[in-house]
């Protein structure tokens, strides 16, 4: 796991892709976004997209999973005494630009857009832009996120 000090602005991770199947769309929406157009094909016909679509929170949550899996794949799990990724203070500029429909495969990526030192001793703040693109090359989801990252002790 690299230290905050070693991270390079502009570095981009290919996170891999996920196919959104009907059952998982319904399962997520039932718990976290029970609007009719995420739960039912008939109701979805009257929606902006005309078809059952995944909740934007579902497409964001899958991106989070792929970020964690990619980090573990690249660096292994966090090691005692080594660099650590901390908590995140939140996200910004979430845009759901294309519906994610049943069977859509979304390819995700994450790019470091900024990093800055903070007043928290031992922690810097890293900002990412995360993007999900469908098979037609259209951006379906994008959002900015930030996370605290441990700094190498002097």
């Amino acid at each position: 796991m690299p230290w905050f000090d070693e991270l390079v602005v502009g570095e981009r991770w290919d996170l891999g892709a996920h196919v959104f199947e009907r059952e998982e769309i319904l399962r997520f929406a039932r718990v976290f976004d029970p609007q009719p157009f995420h739960l039912d094909e008939e109701a979805a016909k009257a929606s902006l997209f005309g078809r059952l679509s995944a909740s934007g929170w579902h497409t964001a949550a899958v991106c989070m999973r792929l970020i964690v899996e990619t980090s573990v794949r690249l660096y292994g799990p966090p090691a005692a005494g080594g660099a650590r990724i901390g908590v995140s203070p939140g996200f910004s500029d979430m845009r759901w630009t294309k519906p994610v429909l049943v069977g859509d495969e979304i390819a995700y990526s994450s790019e470091i857009v900024a990093k800055r030192e903070t007043s928290r001793p031992g922690w810097g703040l890293v900002s990412h832009r995360n993007v999900g693109v469908n098979a037609r090359g259209e951006t379906a989801i994008s959002f900015g996120s930030s996370v605290f990252w441990s700094r190498r002790r002097a």
């Binding site: 902006l48 999973r65 899996e69 799990p77 908590v87 203070p89 939140g90």
Partner: protein
């Protein structure tokens, strides 16, 4: 069912609360955010919720308490979401929202937009999440 025309220009609402359980935090995190502090019940200082779980919970309470009562057409996105304080098993989270800024769509005559600020507060009165975004709602005038 409220349409765009029925919505007030500005309104503050409280709705719904939820008792957070350890099992639901772990189940969510295992699937979507498997970092140790979200899945390990023995995590030093205590297991905390993934911010994405808290966001999903805020969404559910907002949908059940308000959005499913209006002719919602979804949302183009969220301006910002701040995860202000840790959420832990046993927390009781209450949802609240403020809507404002109702305006017609520039591109479509059958829908309008409004701004929503919503959030959750825990049993100690501490805000744990605050979000600001835009919602789309159908206009009654489209003949529906």
């Amino acid at each position: 069912m409220l349409f765009y025309e029925d919505l007030p220009g500005e309104s503050t609402m409280e709705f719904g609360s939820h008792d957070v359980t350890r099992d639901e935090l772990i189940a969510f995190a295992r699937e979507f955010d498997p970092q140790p502090m979200h899945v390990d019940p023995e995590w030093p200082g205590g297991l905390i919720a993934s911010g994405w779980f808290t966001t999903g919970l805020l969404m559910r309470l907002t949908v059940e308490g308000f959005v499913n009562g209006i002719a919602s057409m979804g949302s183009p996105g969220v301006e910002r979401c701040d995860w202000l304080a840790p959420v832990k098993p046993g927390d009781v989270l209450r949802a609240h929202a403020r809507i404002a800024g109702k305006r017609p769509s520039k591109s479509r005559p059958d829908i309008g937009l409004f701004g929503m600020e919503n959030g959750l507060t825990n049993q100690r009165g501490t805000p744990v999440i605050a979000m600001r975004g835009t919602m789309i709602v159908r206009r009654r005038g489209d003949g529906a």
